[in-house]
């Protein structure tokens, strides 16, 4: 079974085991391709996304000619009472590295990253898709939590090899926030109750979220509930922070290599510009237009006017906006790996990955084998286990024609080839030129 049944993002286990790749240094700043002196990293894109349960892209979206159709009907049946979506994207635009005399390695790079986690109840999807009428008399939980932000990352690294066996590396990363939306963990409850009487609506709200650039206002005028996106772009250094990577690689004998790294250590972004806190709190009851009986009787009201009804229905959430600075923390990741070179063409290895953030913590382990049938082609496979699934089969293909390094790899190969039919997808591809 290639698909995971629960949410478990694969954290580039396969990339980490390809230490000869220049881009593998993203998982350990002590990694540098052997016997090379100058490195130019070409664009590389990695995606790590998953939905809890077995909800797939095809359950949500399908193509009809040129049209993309959103259809929640199938997906809702597969949803669990509480669901989670994880999305981690990395786009490394350019990186460079050089080996200096004295076994000192320098590196620098620029990347854009996105980290998103959304938890939502099944009832929210039901409410959206089927309306509230099928749930009259029930209290529907419509609150969802989100932790999503993206940022630019400018990194500078330094590594040093001690003797021929031990390499230490460190990397400082300047983080510049692009946009952010993080719900308040202490205030993320929204429920909707439709009274069987005449469908009076009661909305209990204790909900808050921080936003920078993503949403600048919530417009409930007219009949809409519009999220007004901020037109102001956060400059490169407006909302910023730092993160640090540390790593080490140890060669034990001629065939065994051990490594350890801690990534995004202390990583955080302090959001100060275009940053607001939105809060909705209270119980909002909508009972329709309440016409005083005396007005009808006395002729004060000589008409039934429902115009105000929809207008007031619109304003029930009543978000209040206030400027408030906020800090997001990057998940800290730890890699622990080992590679054993069996023969000139075969190598085996193992890797452990642990990720810890404020909202989720996950551990995965994998064992891999690497085969190089010819010098410029390397094929790899990995079996990995994580918190939710014990059946993940990874794959890697690395081509090294001349100074060029091209690679495509995935911790879950079948999902990567059929991403629309998978609840989780993980892949990374890119290229580099090394001399």
């Amino acid at each position: 079974m290639a698909c995971s049944t629960g949410l478990q993002a694969q954290q580039e286990l396969m990339l980490h085991q390809q230490s000869q790749l220049w881009h593998a240094s993203a998982t350990n700043p002590a990694f540098f391709p052997a016997d090379k002196k100058f490195f130019i990293g070409l664009p590389s894109f990695g995606l790590d996304a998953a939905h809890s349960g077995d909800v797939t892209y095809n359950d949500l979206l399908r193509k009809d000619g040129d049209r993309t159709i959103l259809d929640l009907g199938k997906a809702i049946d597969k949803l669990e009472p509480q669901n989670e979506v994880f999305y981690d994207q990395r786009f490394e635009l350019l990186s460079i590295g050089a080996r200096l005399p004295g076994d000192i390695y320098l590196q620098a790079g620029f990347a854009t990253r996105l980290n998103a986690t959304v938890d939502y109840p099944k009832s929210l999807a039901e409410l959206f898709w089927y309306g509230n009428a099928p749930y009259i008399g029930q209290t529907l939980n419509a609150g969802f939590s989100a932790n999503t932000f993206d940022w630019h990352e400018l990194s500078f690294g330094l590594a040093h090899r001690f003797g021929k066996v031990l390499t230490f590396g460190g990397r400082a990363k300047f983080l510049s926030g692009i946009s952010m939306l993080v719900t308040d963990e202490n205030h993320n409850a929204v429920s909707v109750y439709t009274d069987p009487d005449i469908y009076q609506l009661t909305l209990n709200s204790d909900y808050g979220f921080h936003s920078s650039r993503t949403i600048s206002a919530i417009d409930t005028s007219g009949l809409g509930f519009d999220l007004v996106r901020n037109q102001l772009k956060n400059g490169f250094s407006s909302n910023n922070g730092w993160a640090f990577d540390l790593g080490a690689q140890l060669k034990v004998g001629q065939k065994l290599t051990l490594d350890v790294s801690v990534l995004d250590l202390g990583g955080s972004i302090s959001w100060k510009k275009n940053t607001n806190y939105f809060r909705s709190q209270g119980t909002f009851e909508y009972n329709g237009v309440e016409i005083p009986g005396s007005d009808i009787i006395n002729g004060t009201t000589d008409s039934l006017d429902f115009t105000a009804a929809l207008d007031s229905l619109n304003d029930v959430l009543q978000f209040e906006k206030s400027a408030a600075e906020f800090t997001t923390k990057l998940p800290t990741r730890i890699y622990l790996g080992a590679t054993f070179q069996l023969t000139e063409r075969w190598a085996v290895g193992a890797v452990l990955h642990h990720q810890k953030s404020e909202r989720r913590s996950a551990t995965s382990v994998g064992v891999n084998a690497q085969w190089a049938p010819v010098k410029w082609i390397s094929l790899g496979a990995m079996y990995s286990v994580n918190d939710q699934s014990a059946a993940n089969l990874g794959f890697s293909l690395i081509l090294k024609p001349g100074p060029v390094q091209l690679f495509v790899l995935s911790d879950n190969a079948l999902n990567a080839l059929t991403p629309y039919g998978s609840s989780a997808v993980n892949f990374r591809f890119g290229g580099a030129v090394v001399f």
Binding site: D71, W129, A133, I198, G288, V289, I297, D302, L304, L397
Partner: protein
């Protein structure tokens, strides 16, 4: 080798092409929502109709003087009142008429009995002057001066008879200063007032002033602004009109249709009387009129030959200034009013006259003061307890669906209105509602056929009191074609038919505390294909 080199470069391209689907960006913003149905439910409106407000408005909206009284047991009594016919004594009885700008009263002799103006059959014994301005005119045509005094022996103040001394030079005319008479009391037993003067020549000879012209006496007087505060005497038999009025019974004048029975209707006549002599009220006319103009004469055993004696303050008992009340109640025990009300009369017409000293008692001393009045009021009194069958009302209301008018109905499959009533009144209601365009043309109706019962009456006990509230739910489903018509309506024509509990067969009580809540919700089933 060259082939192998290009193959090495091409191979990654082939692989990358293979994983293209995994990387292809999908624009969710451009995604269309798949066809499905959803259903949304929300409330439209609610209102609570209070029985007291309802009765105040339905029964009391056009005519003044109508009153609903909430009784201690929360029953309500409806009073229809005619105008209070208040007759000051001066409207009927005129005493001592000295019109302004009237010519002076000639005094042809030294003693002159002036006839007072009094109503027929009345003999004045005493009158108290409230205001009066007297001017004495003396014309001395003699060649020598005169002196003397003018007096009214029957008029005194604090025990002193009214007297004015004068001196007039020869061949001279004089006007006395204005002599104020307020506070004086006149005593008379013959409806006359004696004026007297004594004039003397310088040698003491008493004379009668000669006429300066033939037929024009040498003494006269002018009396202005003369009013009395009290008159006392004998009132003989005399008939005079008191009031004629109409009371609209608008409970039966609304556009309501159907049958209604009111339990224990009453007509009450209240007379407040401060006239100090016996007065008999004579009912000249007392009839209800039906909608078709049919006259229903109200007959009662209370009246004696259509007459009744009003209570009055007695001079003999020292009740001067008091007001006495006479209340006459005509109800089912002493009249045919219950039968009349079954015919739903719309108007009561009555005419009452008065007769003073109808018994012609010569020994009675009567009185009037300047504040004496007799007032007669007539009320129709209905305790709101009864029964009704298909008692109908019609009303037109403007209608504005607001933004619902602009909804794209292509995405709506059907709508369902839910009408809920919570009725604490003993009245059930059937309803039909016609949706009309701006010209009043019906474009659809709420119910397909006949009006439907949308509100059941609350249960009642043996006394006609409600024992709780009754909830009724009515669902009206409209397909999109009907809803499309209805939502464009500009007004609704409402026909409501009320029937009291138990099919309108037994009387029920309408209490001020009773109310009915009417609520409306809407379900909209959408379709997207």
């Amino acid at each position: 080798m060259q082939y192998k080199f290009w193959l090495r470069l091409l191979f990654p391209a082939v692989v990358l092409l293979g994983i293209y689907p995994a990387c292809k960006k999908v624009g969710l913003d451009e995604a269309e929502v798949a066809g499905h149905t959803a259903e949304y439910a929300f409330p439209l409106m609610s209102t609570t109709l209070n029985m007291q407000d309802l009765m105040f408005q339905v029964l009391n909206d056009t005519l003044s003087g109508d009153t609903i009284v909430v009784n201690p047991d929360n029953t309500m009594t409806l009073f229809y009142s005619g105008d209070v016919a208040e007759k000051p004594a001066s409207d009927i009885f005129t005493f001592f008429d000295f019109p302004p700008n009237a010519p002076p009263i000639p005094i042809p002799d030294t003693i002159y009995e002036y006839p007072l103006t009094v109503p027929d059959s009345v003999t004045i014994r005493r009158a108290d002057v409230l205001t009066g301005e007297l001017t004495v005119i003396i014309i001395n045509s003699l060649s020598e001066p005169i002196h003397g005094f003018f007096s009214i022996p029957q008029m005194s103040k604090n025990g002193e008879v009214f007297k004015w001394p004068f001196t007039v030079a020869a061949d001279t005319n004089i006007f006395s200063p204005v002599l104020h008479l307020d506070g004086h009391t006149l005593l008379s037993d013959s409806n006359t007032l004696q004026f007297r003067y004594e004039a003397y020549l310088p040698d003491g000879t008493r004379i009668k002033l000669p006429e300066p012209f033939p037929g024009f006496p040498g003494v006269g007087l002018r009396l202005q602004n003369f009013t009395l505060s009290y008159v006392e005497g004998y009132w003989g038999y005399s008939e005079y009109p008191l009031t004629r009025d109409t009371i609209d019974i608008d409970i039966n004048q609304t556009s309501l249709k159907g049958n209604i029975k009111v339990k224990d209707p009453k007509v009450t006549m209240v007379v407040s009387n401060s006239w100090g002599f016996p007065t008999r009220g004579v009912v000249k006319y007392l009839s209800f009129l039906g909608k078709d103009g049919t006259e229903y004469k109200l007959e009662s055993t209370v009246f004696n030959n259509d007459s009744i004696d009003f209570a009055y303050p007695s001079w003999a008992a020292g009740e001067v200034g008091q007001t006495k009340y006479t209340k006459v109640v005509l109800d089912g025990t002493n009249s045919n009013i219950a039968e009349i009300f079954n015919a739903q009369p719309v108007r009561l017409i009555y005419e009452v006259a008065g007769i003073s000293n109808a018994k012609r008692d010569p020994t009675i001393t009567g009185f009037l003061t300047d504040k004496s009045t007799i007032a007669l009021s007539m009320n129709v009194e209905l305790v709101l307890e009864g029964s009704a069958q298909d008692f109908g009302a019609e009303q037109t209301l403007n209608l504005n669906f607001g933004d619902y008018s602009d909804i794209d109905t292509a995405k709506i499959e059907e709508v369902e209105f839910k009408l809920v009533t919570e009725n604490g009144t003993p009245i059930s209601a059937a309803l039909q509602l016609y949706f009309q365009d701006e010209n009043g043309m019906a474009i659809d109706s709420l119910f397909r056929d006949e009006p439907q019962f949308i509100m059941d009456a609350a249960l009642t006990d043996a006394n006609g009191n409600t024992t709780g509230s009754k909830r009724t739910e009515t669902f009206v489903t409209m397909d999109i074609d009907r809803f499309d018509r209805v939502r464009r309506a500009k007004q609704i024509f409402l026909q409501t038919y009320f029937t009291t509990a138990n099919g309108g067969m037994v009387p029920v009580k309408l209490l001020a505390t009773q109310n009915a809540t009417v609520k409306l919700g809407l379900k909209v089933k959408t379709k997207i294909f």
